[in-house]
Structure formats: structure tokens, C-alpha cells
């Protein structure tokens, strides 16, 4: 039986991704022009400037984290000796190929913010201010430019290298079937070791240091031990939605013949379960702060849940919790491609909003008057579309480079006969 193993990027697909990227670049230029028109006082200029950089920060970090979630998915299932994902494993592999590209972009933006002294975003970069600030002086070892740069480099390099290694291991079997049981065992062991290494790097970065440095340090006085887990849950559920979107797209184009409703159902379960997990972390963070009601902690939720961002905040809560809970709970909706696609788009948008309300209240606060406002979100949305185009473009290229079925992997049969 012959299957359509090689993905061919259609002209339309390429055109859409190019158009989205062009739109994104135009939006970046447009936003730069409107925020750097040179009117107003020095303070107003500084606020306008960080509004531009905050937009780039939020978009690039968000999309880097969700494409990286694909590699986490691969490594976690590899460590669990899961076989069910084999039928569509090349899809998350291809998505994770975007990590180096997005990583370099994010790193450039982050370092530009840190070394460009955008104090309204990271006010711990202001050396003079830190000297007079007791809390920030205490955190100087962690919140320093050198440490930030080191961790950022380590993160992007680690994710890119280990992801590349995992993809290479997977593709090494395409033209060279495993000859014996012993060889197969060795192959699985090899995979396990590299996946475990990736998970260790993942734990040291996204599950702890990276969200603290990249996002939480925007509100440098405030801290939450839940924050990194929360960010991970947010980006993982969006990452699973991204995988679902690509799988459904390829199914509709007649690829992935061996991936059926059973596999899509399991991806839907991940989306459902991690939406609930995200809510659990969201609530654990919110409830303790709400209950203790200590001023230094409530400053975080003041502009978000009760201030100018409250509309955004509760909208994203409904999108990210209530909608997946009620819509994805039914078995039939997880097996319905239309419903799942709709929910995947909604979840990716919802968590983008989540990151939006995490990033923006800090930079959008006037340092003198302490007044926070919500910027024109449409700019950020169009810039986000540009990043979506980039992800589409690179993923499409990566998909077309290798066969869509890892046909010589020892666990492939388990996936073909998968039942839920």
C-alpha cells in the first residue's frame, strides 16, 4: 500500500505564510513609527518606546515557548516509552525545527531590551536605581545582565541543539531499517538518554529560571514560585493546540493516512487536561495572594484582575478555562476535527492573551504617576500574525524535508493499531 509520505508545500500555503510574515513586518514598522514619532516629554517618549519593545518581547517569547513545547511533547512521550504518537510524530518534530529560528529572534530582542537599557521593561537593568532599591539590591546576583545573558544563551543553545539531536536520531532510521532486536533496544536507549537530557535542560529553563528572568522580572519587586509552572502550562497547552492544527491540516490535505480519530482524540485530551492544569496553577497563584492580601504581592493582580486589564484578564480566563472545560469535555468533540480546530485556535489565542496580560501592565505603567493603561492590542495581534506566518513557513519547510511517517521506528506498529 502506498501512502503520501512526502509533504509538498503548496503554493497557497507558502503564499499565506509569506503574506502573514509581510503583514507582521509591516506592523512592526508601523508600530515603531507611531511609537517613535518624537512628540512629548522624555518620560512619555520612554513609555512609547517600551510599548514597542514589550510587544516584540511578548510575541517572540510566546511563540518561542509554544514551538518548543513540541519538543517537550516528543521527549516526554519518548521517556514514557509511548508509542501512540508515532503516526504523527514528524509533525511536532517539524514544529520544533522552528526553535532555533525563533530562539535567535527572541534572544536578539531580549538582549536588545537588556543592553538597550529599556528600564521601563526591566527596571533592574538601571544600575543607579538598583542601588537605592533595597529589594532589587538583594536580588542583584540573579537579576543581573550577565546572568540574564548566560541563561538566555544556554536556553536557546540547549533547546536548539538537543532538539536537533532528537530530530536527527528520528530521521537516521528513515533509509536504514533496524536489523535486529539488539540494535532496536540500543536505538530506544539512545533516544531515551537524549530525551532525558532535553528534559533536564527543559526543567532548568522553562520550568524555573527562564520565565523568572524573561517575564517575571518585568515586575521585579514581585515574585511567585508558581510563575514558571504557570508559564509552562500555558505554553504547553498552546503547543499541543498547534500540533493539533498541523495534524488536522495534513489530514485534510490527505497526508498522515495512519493518523486517525484515535490519535486526534488523544491530542484533544492533552488540550483538555492541560487547560485544567493551567487553571489549577492560575488559581493556586491567584487565591493565595488574594487571601493573604499583602500589599507587596497584590501589586501584581491590582492592574490585572481589578484594574485596566480586568476585561482582558477575565476574557482570557473564560477562553482558557471555561471554554475548553465545557466544549472539550465530550468525547465526540475531541474526535471532531472542526470543533478541535476551532478550540485549538481559541486556546492559542487565549494563551497569547494570557502572556499579554503578564507582560504589558509592567511596561505600560507610567513611572511617575503609577497609572497603568492598556495599549492598542491590534498592533500586537498583527505582529503575532507575522510570527504565525514564520512558524507556518519554517514548519512547512521542515515537514517537506523528511517522510511524514517514521516508518522504521520500533514503536510504529503500536501507533497504527492505537485505540482509545
Amino acid at each position: 500500500m502506498s501512502i503520501k509520505e512526502n509533504f509538498v508545500v503548496s503554493k497557497r500555503y507558502n503564499m499565506i505564510s509569506m503574506a502573514l510574515m509581510a503583514l507582521g513586518i509591516l506592523a512592526i514598522i508601523g508600530l515603531y513609527i507611531t511609537t517613535h514619532s518624537g512628540k512629548g516629554t522624555e518620560d512619555e517618549k520612554a513609555v512609547a518606546d517600551v510599548r514597542f519593545w514589550a510587544s516584540l518581547l511578548q510575541n517572540s517569547v510566546y511563540f518561542l515557548l509554544i514551538v518548543n513545547a513540541s519538543m517537550f511533547f516528543i521527549c516526554a512521550t519518548t521517556l514514557a516509552w509511548g508509542g501512540w504518537q508515532m503516526a504523527f510524530r514528524r509533525v511536532p518534530e517539524a514544529i520544533s525545527a522552528v526553535v532555533p529560528v525563533m530562539g535567535v529572534i527572541s534572544m536578539a530582542i531580549l538582549l536588545a531590551i537588556v543592553f538597550g537599557d529599556k528600564h521601563n521593561i526591566y527596571h533592574w537593568t538601571d544600575a543607579e536605581h538598583v542601588e537605592h532599591d533595597k529589594i532589587l539590591r538583594f536580588k542583584k546576583g540573579f537579576l543581573s545582565k550577565n546572568f540574564f545573558t548566560g541563561i538566555t544563551l544556554f536556553t536557546v543553545a540547549g533547546w536548539s541543539f538537543l532538539g536537533w539531536k532528537m530530530r536527527k536520531l528520528s530521521r537516521s532510521l528513515d533509509n536504514k531499517p533496524l536489523a535486529s532486536m539488539a540494535e532496536a533496544k540500543k536505538y530506544i536507549w539512545n533516544n531515551t538518554v537524549w530525551a532525558a537530557l532535553y528534559i533536564v535542560v527543559f526543567a532548568l529553563t522553562i520550568m524555573s529560571s527562564v520565565p523568572w528572568l524573561w517575564l517575571m522580572s518585568i515586575d521585579a519587586h514581585w515574585y511567585s514560585t508558581m510563575y514558571s509552572w504557570y508559564t509552562f502550562a500555558s505554553t504547553f497547552v498552546a503547543g499541543m493546540s498547534l500540533i493539533a492544527l498541523f495534524v488536522v491540516y495534513l489530514k485534510n490535505k490527505g497526508y498522515l493516512e495512519y493518523t486517525n480519530q484515535e490519535h486526534v482524540h488523544d491530542i484533544g485530551k492533552f488540550m483538555f487536561a492541560f487547560s485544567v492544569f493551567w487553571t489549577y496553577l492560575w488559581f493556586s497563584q491567584f487565591m493565595l495572594i488574594w487571601y493573604a492580601n499583602i500589599p507587596e504581592e497584590t501589586t501584581y493582580f491590582k492592574p490585572r484582575a481589578y484594574g485596566p486589564y480586568s476585561g482582558l484578564f477575565w476574557t482570557m480566563f473564560i477562553i482558557n478555562f471555561i471554554a475548553p472545560l465545557l466544549i472539550l469535555m465530550r468525547r465526540s468533540s475531541k474526535r471532531n476535527y472542526t470543533v478541535l480546530t476551532f478550540m485549538a485556535v481559541l486556546i492559542i489565542f487565549g494563551h497569547w492573551l494570557d502572556l499579554y496580560q503578564m507582560v504589558f501592565p509592567g511596561p505600560m505603567t507610567d513611572p511617575k504617576t503609577e497609572v497603568t493603561h492598556v495599549p492598542m492590542i491590534l498592533w500586537d495581534f498583527v505582529i503575532a500574525l507575522g510570527f504565525v506566518g514564520l512558524i507556518m513557513f519554517v514548519t512547512g519547510k521542515a515537514l517537506s524535508k523528511a517522510p511524514l511517517l517514521a516508518r522504521n521506528h520500533p514503536f510504529v506498529k503500536e501507533s497504527l493499531i492505537h485505540h482509545t
Binding site: F283, Y291, R331
Partner: protein, 198 residues
């Protein structure tokens, strides 16, 4: 009380059982049930069973739990006995979420277990007939129900051709009765009554 006539066969391999189930359905025999020592993924689908409604029941129990928790705490803390906890509002919803969550889980879990037992007719001192005790150990047992039109000899040879071993004709009670598994309490005189009836 309804004693029926069955033709049963044993299977030792999933790879034989699945095609056998399909062939049996295609041949038009009525599969009473397939007994297995462990859950087999996809067998329910192969047998053409409808999806269980257990999860719908679970959802209703869960919603009941949520409503009970929120309703009771609201009544207690905003109407019946107002208390000021650290200056919080009387209607302090975030603080109640953990309890609401746990009552939801409790109602859903207990309700679903009881419903499951009811649907499977499992309870202390409820006894049912077994076709083959080995179906709780190491074999899969398929039971075909004999209707008026079933040709017994044909059914036996059919089961043998699709890979069943130890094919037998059995008369079994399909309902439950009060009894114990460690004691042989026969409520019905199965064989004679059934044969007399036929």
C-alpha cells in the same frame, strides 16, 4: 428468571478474537457477550456496543456536587451565620473553590462507582452465572445466544472454524440472584427446566 441456551467458545489470543468477533457478527449470530480477564481496547467497538452513558451520569453528579458546595457555603456564610474573616467579603468565592472542587470530585466519584456497580449488577451477595471461570484468569470466552432460528450444530462448527477451542452448549441463568460465590447456591434447576421449556 430466564434460563437461556448458549454456545460458548474459548480464545487465547487477541489477534484471533478480534477477527472472530467480526466474522461472528457478519455471519449474523447474536453475541451475548465476550468475557475477558482484563479490558481489551477496541473490543467494545468491534462488538458494536454503544458508548457507555457513565460519563454523562458522572457529569451530572459532578454538577450536583458543585451546586451543593456553592449553595450550602453561600447560604451558611452570607445568610445564616455571617463571619468576618480578615476583612474579606462575606461572599468570598475564591476561598470556597477548593471545597467546591473537592465536593465535585467526591460526588462524581462516589456516584460513578455506584452507577457502575448498578450497571454491571455488582453488589455483595449478588450472584451471577459464569460461562467459564477461566474468563477471570487467562482466556477470553465468547458466548453466542441461541435463538429459535439458531442451528446449534452449525453454530458449534462455526465457532470452531473461527478459532475457538472447547466449544460447548450451555444453559445459563442470565439474571442475578442472591447468593454467595463460595457456596453453591443454585436457585434454579437450570438444565431440566430449560430443556423442558424448549
Amino acid at each position: 428468571m430466564s434460563v437461556k441456551k448458549f454456545v460458548t467458545g474459548n480464545f487465547y489470543d487477541e489477534a484471533v478474537l478480534f477477527p472472530a468477533v467480526k466474522k461472528t457478527r457478519r455471519a449474523g449470530y447474536k453475541i451475548h457477550d465476550v468475557y475477558t480477564p482484563f479490558p481489551i481496547h477496541g473490543l467494545d467497538k468491534a462488538m458494536g456496543l454503544r458508548d457507555t452513558s457513565l460519563h454523562t451520569a458522572g457529569f451530572i453528579y459532578g454538577i450536583t456536587g458543585t451546586a451543593t458546595a456553592v449553595g450550602f457555603i453561600t447560604w451558611a456564610l452570607t445568610i445564616d451565620w455571617r463571619l468576618n474573616f480578615g476583612g474579606k467579603p462575606f461572599f468570598a468565592l475564591p476561598a470556597w473553590i477548593p471545597i467546591t472542587f473537592e465536593l465535585t470530585v467526591l460526588f462524581a466519584a462516589v456516584g460513578m462507582v455506584l452507577t457502575f456497580c448498578y450497571l454491571c449488577q455488582l453488589a455483595p451477595f449478588v450472584k451471577k452465572d459464569h460461562f467459564n471461570p477461566r474468563s477471570t484468569d487467562d482466556t477470553f470466552v465468547m458466548a453466542l445466544e441461541c435463538t429459535d432460528k439458531t442451528n446449534e450444530a452449525e453454530a458449534i462448527s462455526f465457532l470452531q472454524t473461527i478459532g475457538a477451542t472447547d466449544v460447548q452448549v450451555q444453559y445459563k441463568e442470565t439474571e442475578w440472584w442472591l447468593g454467595r460465590y463460595d457456596k453453591d447456591t443454585k436457585r434454579f434447576e437450570k438444565k431440566e427446566t430449560a430443556e423442558a421449556a424448549h
